[in-house]
Symmetry: C2
Subunit: 399 residues, 2 copies
């Protein structure tokens, strides 16, 4: 499995574009991804109860499992916008369908940005026309730019591998930055492949991959109203449909995992104000839910996040966060590791020199591990530190 250029347009039969239509004050804000032939599609959607109409729209399409295009705007989430918002979402699908000569029911819509403001529909109509004109087989990077909000750089990857006499591809782009928490889909991520697969199989693949990738990251513990991960398969390779249990199926799963893992990681790295990332691994839990509960409490703890930001080996904050998780921990069974060193074990702190402790947090990726001593389940989360940068960005991200 090798990494290649090209993102979502690396797989055969996909074109994309990104244009600026004036929703954001500057920069590209409208992306289009199109398959030149029918494609199967699967996705995971936000579990937020106040979700945007484009999520409702996606839910309907995902039930049918067929799509030809994704149109996505940044700068405005079109959420909490009432009946008008529903109409606007449908218009986006219809205009895109019209421009491409395909049915509206095969156009997925995604929006990200400010909540509660109406979309500037005239600008969007123009933008969709322009995006149609600019569609190219190398447009992934432009599309990746056009879905960004406070992200500082586009997130893009593609992998390919040999299969029979040919080559199969999986590509993806994503945006994240704020409102990132481990709960179902947690941002926008669009994946494409030129293998042929039915929607049911694509769904299984996402169900397998998303929990350990996009759902295993957190920036600020917030869950967006508009999150979605979409995976389109158009069969552009001309190979026969994927069958479960084959090597091709396993390779495909691995490729999707690689793409999702890379994009999820990039999202945390580029999280608002994030300067350093850290992993929280919980082992010895009585069950997966329990492991996740402790991991989330630690990964989202403001005191742990600022500790990582300050390169301060103040592991008591890890202990306090774990203890506050609600899980019935027993200190005498708990082991806490910071970096490569055990700092707390059997109810006792481990004596380590200040120099050794400082070494444990002086890594670009700090490792925190908790063994609860209660069972065999485990969970891992990737999180970012909390810096003044986060506050600066979010005290000024004005409506």
């Amino acid at each position: 499995m090798e990494s290649v250029q090209g993102g979502v347009t690396a797989p055969i039969g996909f074109a994309a574009s990104g244009v600026s239509c004036g929703i954001k004050r500057r920069g590209k804000d409208l992306a289009l991804i199109v398959s030149n032939r029918p494609a199967a599609v699967a996705g995971t959607l936000t579990t937020n109860r106040l979700r945007a109409p484009c999520v409702d729209w996606a839910e309907k399409i995902l039930r049918l499992g067929k799509a030809r295009a994704i149109v996505a705007n940044s700068g405005n989430a079109n959420c909490c916008t009432g009946v008008r918002g529903e109409r606007d979402c449908r218009s986006m699908a219809e205009w895109t369908a019209g421009a491409l000569g395909i049915p509206a029911q095969e156009v997925l819509v995604a929006s990200t940005g400010v909540i509660g403001q109406p979309l500037p529909m005239e600008k969007l109509r123009e933008g969709i026309r322009a995006a149609r004109v600019q569609l190219t087989r190398t447009g992934s990077h432009s599309a990746a730019e056009a879905i960004l909000t406070t992200d500082t750089s586009p997130k893009e990857i593609a992998v390919h591998w040999k299969i029979g006499g040919g080559v199969a591809m999986v590509g993806g782009i994503a945006k994240g930055s704020g409102m990132i928490a481990p709960n179902m889909a947690t941002m926008l991520a669009f994946l494409t492949t030129d293998l042929q697969a039915d929607a049911g199989l694509l769904r299984e693949v996402l169900r397998e991959v998303v929990p350990d990738t996009f759902n295993a990251i957190t920036v600020d513990g917030e869950m967006s109203t508009n999150d979605m991960v979409l995976l389109m398969a158009n069969g552009g390779t001309g190979l026969p449909p994927l069958k479960r249990g084959t090597k091709v199926h396993r390779d495909f799963l691995e490729a999707v995992r690689t793409v999702c893992r890379h994009l999820a990681r990039e999202i945390v790295r580029d999280g608002e104000g994030v300067t350093r990332i850290f992993t929280v691994r919980v082992t010895g839990a009585a069950g997966r839910a329990e492991a996740l509960k402790v991991a989330r409490q630690v990964a989202n703890s403001l005191l742990v996040k600022t500790m990582v930001a300050g390169r301060d080996p103040n592991w008591g904050r890890i202990a306090a966060a774990a203890g506050a998780s609600g899980v019935l921990l027993r200190p005498e069974r708990l082991t806490i590791r910071l970096g490569k060193k055990i700092v707390f074990q059997k109810g006792e702190p481990v004596r380590l020199s200040r120099a050794i402790l400082l070494q444990q947090v002086d890594h670009p990726e700090v490792r925190i591990e908790l063994d609860l001593g209660r069972g065999k389940a485990e969970a891992s989360l990737l999180s970012g530190d909390l810096t003044e940068g986060y506050v600066k960005i979010n005290a000024k991200y004005t409506t």
Copy 2:
């Protein structure tokens, strides 16, 4: 019910002191509060599973319901310190008991500060001696200073009211700042009264008052390992014991509520980096737990906190946080108020000018209200904004 000077030493028969014994780099770090006669005591303790030995010690004493003194140090939480920590806590009680000529089982111990470091016991032994010497009837302010960590100012109040031919008093001091979240006791707060009451009645009073005061605040969603609220009643007025259902009982309840409300509010105001406070009131919930769930999600949301910091009327963040709470909200039944204005109702945003919206967040205490339209239960929380100050303090609060 009038406010008076004197804090915990306003009630008859209580003396206090605060001294510097060198646990912290500078400032007072050891407080002593003593009743000159036997007193009943009740308290609420942290629910954190990794709690300090002083919390275990307090639990034993509270079961008996009798105490004469509280000794409290700041700068070191004596938590996650193993067997040595348990021994050190007991020594603090024993040395204080020795200095005062009372049984160790009547000395409550409280510690606050860094986790996982051993207490400097020689300094504490000296400190306890000095605190004993400096006990005065006007020592409340010194004691209030000595329990502070990153707090910027001491928190103190006393109220009195006429009762029969005399006057009854309730006084209190508290410390908060970081690790403040709405979960059982959430910081250190010591209350005294010169009324006579048994421990059972005191417990009822705290159970009635704490949920809406100390447990209705949040600074950073963290729960400390050492939190406690203690209430001592020594009968110094010479009045007969409090009886349930009497006017004196009602007045006492009101006095304790006033003291707790004031101290809780001061804790949020002086929260780490807090520049502005805000209330989150949730009404129309199907039950109290549900109301609290939504209120907590909104009150602890980093995006809502930074919105308040930035005076940005970006109410979509309130909607997104509520939607992420896990409560089965229906947008068409939800009403969101910011300040005095409805901003979202019946699934639709309310059109308001930017000027009007800005007015709603331009208050020293921003009001956020959500009516879930699901029932009649409600809950309120008081929270503080998130600023660069919080990050600065916590990326540098070094072990």
